[in-house]
């Protein structure tokens, strides 16, 4: 069974069965290891990708559900929106957000989607948007600060 998906802006032929979760298509067949496995139940957010710009848990989203849609992984954020992705990355580095880093692909994807939809999120907006992304290392305070910092930086970067 094969189909063609749009992944990070590129048309990609895939062999996987339609019920294959997108996470395992990415990590298995396509060897795209940026998206991580954490729970398999859509509870931890490590597998977060964007489908038509919306954050989605790829461990519980079948390939069939993303046919005809734009799938963006952490590897494709720069191509999706260099301005927002760049601001997020710069803030992440400036505030030294990461620790072990395993949850961070999902965090960065969710943060980028948030800022694209809401350029000036409040603490409550951030908490709501990132509530599905677990971190066992305690990077939450710095994630919040980095999203605010990115929002501030984006005000000065023309869209």
């Amino acid at each position: 069974m094969s189909t063609t998906l749009t992944i990070n802006g590129k048309s990609t032929a895939v062999q996987a069965e339609p019920e294959t979760p997108v996470l395992w298509l990415l990590r298995g067949e396509l060897k795209m290891t940026g998206t991580k496995f954490g729970c398999g139940m859509g509870l931890c957010g490590a597998c977060t990708v964007l489908v038509d710009g919306q954050p989605v848990r790829s461990c519980v989203t079948p390939v069939a559900a993303v046919e005809g849609k734009a799938l963006t992984t952490v590897e494709g954020l720069q191509a999706l929106d260099a301005r927002v992705a760049g601001a997020v990355r710069a803030a992440w580095l400036k505030l030294d957000v990461v620790q072990c880093g395993y949850c961070q692909s999902g965090q960065v994807v969710a943060a980028t989607a948030l800022l694209k939809a809401n350029p000036a999120p409040s603490d409550a907006d951030i908490d709501t948007a990132l509530a599905g992304n677990l971190c066992r290392c305690g990077t939450y305070p710095r994630i919040r600060a980095a999203i605010h910092a990115a929002a501030v930086a984006l005000k000065d970067i023309p869209a």
């Binding site: 580095l93 072990c100 880093g101």
Partner: protein
């Protein structure tokens, strides 16, 4: 004297006692037994770094990065003394060699009170260090990496710098004293002659290794003490960093595993006929339990999803009755611990004065019993390992905290010699002590051997298998009795606790050592604190558990701090005294601990009105002070309750004295990390085992803290010139008691079990 017998007994069992040993100073950790492997144009200077002709600098990194920042912190030590160009520093994996064995973590494991400084303690530490040089472990754990390598890596950097300067002096024809080195360049100011480290590397490599180079003074440090960003931050933010399941050797197959639901159980029967008919499926194999792990079945396929589907279609009959954990109930076990304390007050890890007499003479006594459950590690990355077995050789890519133990475990499981096994250490998606165990690594190797056909096989555990096949933080019960005089001064402190020993269990798994003798880690956090009790006895009974136990971030401190800091708070309230003042009165002999306590109280606004929660609910503060891994931490938590009585922590103020702060940013990160990890456990952590099966399985029934529940965290680091102490774990012990003490102040309810629930 029991302690001495234990120490010598341990060394004897380890086979390391000998005659004629002498102290080996840190500079003896300069050279590996075999010269470092180098590439074209690359020269090794000491056993710790390689310099390329083009200036590429590779520091040998013997410790595992699991988020604690050790790759950055350790690299700073060497790079500073070397006067390297920091932006050019890269890391190279360390070969397995005794100079990389962790000596500090073992010395700290000896059962002496931190304040005792007798000759026995000092010579035991020296003997242990010597033993560990021969049979030790390249272990990352125990908050000890910086402490262990503080001198050796700085010595290596200084020695390499001296060799480069000597080479430059010879090349320029000038005295070494006229040369300056900075950012990877040697300069002779008088003549303007200069040479890069890369240009000098080969010549320097031909010089003898100097063994007495003076180190920089703190005033000369350029990197140490600075909040440098961690070196692997960019790759982690981009998703390109390599974790355990990101290794992609060519021809990679994937394995999905199911282990017996009863811990330690076996496989009775497997029917894989349906599974093997599915697309992409290569093999279905059975594997025994290794290194304390549980037996199970693996389905191997061309993609992870095909492997998972095949496993679902495999019919497995388990043999659960013969496991030592069959029928084990965590509830009954904890009740049993309490019953043990009815008649056994345990080995005394600390005694002073006559506590029973002091209690008899007390104006008022109070008693309480505390309990803590088994806990899972729940690393963000479920256990995983990639292994290839071919032509009598094995290669594993493993997120491990002990690469040499991993090598040994794989060799043993496969029937190979250690030299036939290569371990590549990946980044760890969280460690917390889980990756001190070798079960999942040996398992992956056996799966590759049995079903890989020479191809590499990546075994990925599901979250359910991970949560149900852990080495749990042991459950514990602790009983206290305190005596106060008429003025409310603490006269007597009696504490007896009971629970399994993770060190005994782990050493048994790693080395086959028998589980005998006292174990300091079973009582740490209870017997080793800075309070000066006039009379005290702190004892612990080790009760073995059929459920597997292991090291969980801060180990014994993780529950003893909750017990001890809660009960001392009870004593303070019984005495009618302010909890900070009550503790301060017991710290007259420990100015450093007193300073931390007072700084935390100040930072936390102790004594000032507590602002209400954002929804207007009343809030209160609680404080806790705890010494662990050489560092002293105090935390003040501001807590309120929701309308449904959910505990909400709004702010945590944290002060740490960890000696010299190598990288203040990493220290702050570790305080944030330890607090969130400990708070998650305090509010939600519990693993229940019934009939030998773990009940919890994923984040729906074992929740962990989410971003909207995370407090504001403010950290202050006490300025110090003492040698650096631990940072990875000390942030965790104080948070549970700080929160529980706040809840008491808020509601009058004294919570004596974890996780915390307000009635």
């Amino acid at each position: 004297m029991k302690r001495r017998h234990f120490v010598l007994g341990t060394l004897g069992v380890a086979g390391a006692l000998g005659v004629g040993w002498s102290l080996l100073p840190p500079r003896q950790r300069l050279a590996t037994r075999t010269p470092l492997a180098t590439g074209a144009g690359e020269t090794a200077l000491t056993g710790w770094l390689k310099l390329g002709r083009d200036g590429a600098l590779h520091l040998v990194m013997p410790r595992s990065e699991m988020g604690q920042g050790v790759h950055t912190g350790l690299a700073m030590l060497l790079a500073d003394e070397l006067d390297a160009e920091w932006s050019r520093v890269r890391l190279a994996p360390a070969p397995i060699d005794p100079i990389f064995f962790n000596q500090a973590v073992v010395a700290d494991g000896l059962p002496f009170h931190p304040d005792s400084d007798g000759a026995i303690k000092r010579s035991a530490a020296r003997l242990t260090a010597k033993a560990m040089r021969e049979i030790g472990l390249m272990v990352t754990g125990g908050s000890s990496s910086i402490k262990d390598l503080w001198l050796p890596m700085r010595q290596a950097g200084a020695a390499a710098r001296a060799m480069l300067l000597t080479a430059a002096a010879q090349r320029f024809g000038v005295p070494v004293g006229e040369l300056a080195a900075s950012d990877g360049v040697v300069l002779h100011a008088a003549s303007g002659k200069r040479a890069t480290y890369g240009e000098l590397a080969e010549a320097a490599g031909r010089l003898p290794l100097p063994d007495d180079v003076p180190l920089k003074t703190p005033a000369q440090w350029k990197l140490i003490g600075k909040p440098l960003p961690r070196i692997e931050a960019a790759s982690k933010a981009l998703g390109t960093a390599g974790f355990g399941s990101d290794a992609l050797p060519p021809g990679l197959l994937y394995a999905s595993v199911a282990m017996c639901p009863t811990l330690g159980g076996e496989v009775k029967q497997v029917d894989s006929s349906a599974a093997r008919a599915l697309p992409g499926v290569k093999q279905v194999v059975m594997f025994p339990g290794y290194a304390g792990g549980t037996a199970g079945v693996a389905a191997i396929a061309d993609t992870p999803w095909h492997a998972m589907q095949a496993l679902k279609k495999t019919a497995i009959v388990w043999d659960e009755a013969t496991s030592p954990a069959a029928g084990f109930s965590s509830t009954a076990f904890v009740d049993g611990l309490a019953k043990t304390l009815d008649s056994d007050s345990g080995f005394a890890y600390f005694k002073t004065g006559d506590v029973d007499a002091a209690l008899k003479g007390a104006a008022r006594t109070l008693s309480a019993e505390y309990r803590a459950p088994f806990l899972a590690h729940a690393t963000m990355e479920p256990q995983t390992c990639t292994a290839q077995v071919r032509d009598g050789q094995a290669t594993v890519w493993a997120p491990t905290q002990i690469p040499d133990a991993a090598r040994r475990a794989v060799a043993r499981a496969l029937g190979l010699k250690a030299e036939q096994v290569t371990v590549h250490v990946t980044l760890l998606g969280g460690g917390f002590g889980r990756r001190l165990d070798m079960d999942f690594i040996a398992q992956a190797a056996v799966i590759a051997q049995l079903g890989g056909g020479g191809a590499p096989v990546q075994t990925i555990w599901s979250r359910e298998e991970d949560m149900r096949h852990d080495f749990y933080r042991p459950a514990a019960v602790s009983r206290f009795t305190a005596g106060l005089d008429a003025k409310g001064q603490l006269l007597a402190w009696k504490n007896s606790s009971a629970g399994p020993s993770p060190t005994q269990a782990s050493l048994s798994r790693l080395f086959g050592l028998p589980k005998v003798g006292p174990d300091k880690t079973a009582s740490e956090g209870a017997f080793d604190q800075p309070y000066a009790f006039p009379a005290a006895r702190v004892g612990h009974v080790i009760v073995d558990s059929p459920a597997p136990v292991g090291f969980w971030r801060s180990v014994g401190h993780s529950h003893h701090a909750f017990f001890k800091e809660s009960f001392i708070d009870e004593a303070a309230h019984a005495a009618g005294q302010d909890p900070v003042a009550f503790r301060a009165a017991l710290l007259a002999q420990h100015p450093r601990a007193l300073a931390v306590l007072q700084a935390a109280a100040a930072l936390g606004g102790w004594g000032q009105p507590v602002p209400p929660a954002p929804d207007g609910a009343k809030a209160a503060r609680g404080i806790a002070l705890h010494r662990s891994f050489g560092s002293i931490v105090a935390q003040v938590a501001e807590v309120s309750l929701s309308a449904e009585k959910a505990i909400r922590v709004h702010r945590v103020c944290c002060v740490i004295d960890c000696g010299t702060a190598v990288n203040p940013n990493l220290i702050r990160q570790q305080m944030e990390s330890g607090i969130v990890f400990g708070l998650s456990a305090a509010l939600y952590g519990r693993i229940d085992i019934e009939n030998g099966r773990v009940l919890q399985s994923n984040f729906h029934d074992q929740p962990v803290l989410r971003i909207h529940e995370c407090p504001v965290i403010q950290t202050e680091i006490i300025a110090s010139t003492e040698p650096p102490e631990g940072v990875g774990e000390p942030g965790t012990p104080p948070i549970a008691p700080a929160v529980a003490n706040a809840i008491y102040a808020l509601t009058g309810q004294r919570l004596r079990t974890l996780p915390l629930k307000v009635a």
